[in-house]
Symmetry: C2
Subunit: 349 residues, 2 copies
């Protein structure tokens, strides 16, 4: 109890940026994945806000969003304080966004511990999540750069991995030996078998000042323009290098540890995954009739949608575009978006 009393309070930063073409046609340039109710009755962003509320009071919850998403974010999160909204003038990947957030929070509270959380993910077991974040926050308090690492339940090839110095234990921080980029399937299998690898879910906790020091050392081409932007220098933001925090900072940082997360985490990376999470239909949408179509799901729209004899198909109904994608075809949705770009149908993006 004594320790808790002396520790700096946790600030939560929700990253509301990111586009993602994998959820076209429901996701569009101005309505990215995190604004959609892909995995349940509420938008992913709303669910992320509720998780944040388990970690901190409203006064310590920040949302970092690119300018074009500010108004939908405020609409979805009416409890978000105006002075806790961090606006990125334009999307420039996670290193500039996180640097801006940490510098902003550090300006308010130089001792702050900050938790960085993407908002396009889902977590089934909230209690396990909160417990892991608390362990990570204590480790961050002591000066480490802490990742939350998801224990893999399959040899996923869509995530980066964290190689741990030894087998990571629940409730404990373990040193990270190496960041590994998305592997091929054979490599992923080997990783999972070894028990030494966790998925990099893009969730981090650290003292804001500690991160800024590390960023200044490893990525001045990110941090310097961000700080000049904060100081009011017009046009500085656009000169920050567009790069991920993993690549720019974490892979070269010292004292990086990981706390395992066993909380039913998913990044809902495809229509198939959304169908598994949300189920075949949503009561908020139009009438649906699904016959002889196990695993099929319908998203969006007020019209009647009938699916007959197509197992695992996902149907996405929007006013100006309709997608019908077969089981396992989710990855190919990008190709539709590419064809739209090539075929002068950009208005549908």
């Amino acid at each position: 109890m004594a320790r808790r009393a002396t520790s700096a309070p946790l600030h939560v930063v929700l990253l509301a940026g990111g586009s993602g073409t994998r959820f076209w046609p429901l996701s569009r340039e101005r309505r990215p994945k995190q604004l959609l109710a892909l995995a349940g009755p509420e938008p992913l962003l709303t669910a992320a806000w509720k998780r944040a509320r388990r970690l901190a009071p409203v006064s310590r919850i920040w949302v970092a969003a690119p300018r074009r998403l500010v108004s939908p974010v405020r609409r979805l999160l009416p409890a978000l304080r105006q002075d806790r909204l961090i606006v990125e003038p334009s999307p420039r990947d996670t290193a500039p966004a996180i640097s801006l957030a940490c510098a902003t929070v550090a300006g308010l509270d130089p001792e702050a511990v900050v938790g960085i959380f993407p908002t396009d993910q889902v977590v089934r077991d909230l209690d396990a999540y909160v417990a892991a974040v608390r362990v990570a926050a204590r480790s961050a308090q002591s000066g480490r750069l802490v990742c939350l690492g998801i224990r893999p339940d399959r040899p996923a090839t869509g995530f980066g991995y964290l190689r741990c110095a030894r087998k990571p234990l629940r409730g404990r921080a373990t040193a990270v030996a190496r960041f590994v980029e998305k592997p091929d399937e054979a490599t992923a299998r080997r990783f999972v078998r070894s028990g030494r690898y966790l998925w990099n879910g893009g969730m981090f906790l650290w003292r804001a000042r500690r991160f800024l020091d590390e960023a200044g050392r490893t990525a001045p081409e990110v941090l310097d323009p961000v700080l000049r932007h904060l100081a009011g220098k017009r046009g500085a933001w656009a000169r920050a290098r567009r790069v991920s925090v993993d690549y720019a900072v974490m892979e070269r940082a010292k004292d990086v540890v990981v706390v395992p997360l066993d909380a039913g985490w998913d990044d809902v990376g495809s229509w198939d995954a959304a169908a598994r999470w949300r189920g075949p239909t949503s009561p908020d949408e139009g009438p649906r009739i699904l016959l002889d179509s196990p695993g099929a799901a319908v998203f969006g729209g007020d019209r009647l949608v009938a699916v007959v004899g197509v197992a695992g198909v996902v149907v996405v109904d929007t006013p100006d575009a309709l997608l019908v994608v077969g089981r396992g075809g989710s990855e190919k949705v990008r190709r539709v978006v590419e064809q739209l770009k090539a075929g002068r149908l950009e208005k549908l993006l």
Copy 2:
């Protein structure tokens, strides 16, 4: 040539009735199958009119339609003469409709030979079709009730069959031994192997008076109300028995023959069949992107429709209802319609 000169002219009667729930949601109660462009760029009814024009001048082409279809029929067939439109007060199956048509034509020309043709069918080889109809018309002229019988190319279970007294030869009328209802698949296989069976396509030729005599003998419960209706008796039509001409008349008629039709005929009985006939897309409709979806097809709508990784799927896009049906699932579309009836969604029928 002498024979042709003395033969009565052929009147063509197009049957524009029939609903068909198999093409929901493009077909609705007020827009049945024959009004749709299911098998090519034009509605089936329009194609049937063009075939009729190969057989007779406009003055001898009649269209029999239930009252609720009169206005779409006239819109699609601007060349149809007002006095060649035969209106059925309500749909009562083919025996009343054909009796009404034959009595109407016989009133104009007691010697008329009449050819009766459904309008929800397609024919690939028009020349072969015209030749077969001419053979049938000559046989009808001599007093026989003539069917056109389609030589089966597969053991279809969706059609009635005609058993011929001997193997039917192209260009010749052969006596019909028996009308056979839709068989199961093993029976259908036996039929096709034997070479003695043809599909009953619902196309007939006869002298109008000859048919009326036969109908008077076999089906007075049809003919008498129809004649009273023609004589102006209100309410008579509704008392005509609702029955098919095959069952009411043909199965019990004398001197029934069949002329084989080898003309690429199909009744386009399912979305699968429509997709085979029309192909994956139509240039008259909205933009489509089909990826890794061999045999897939999209019908209707102005929206963009993208199909990704679903072989053989048929997507039918209408303003208030969307159908996605898998290969071989066409027969189950009826079940959707049943669910709509049961679920208080009749407005979508």
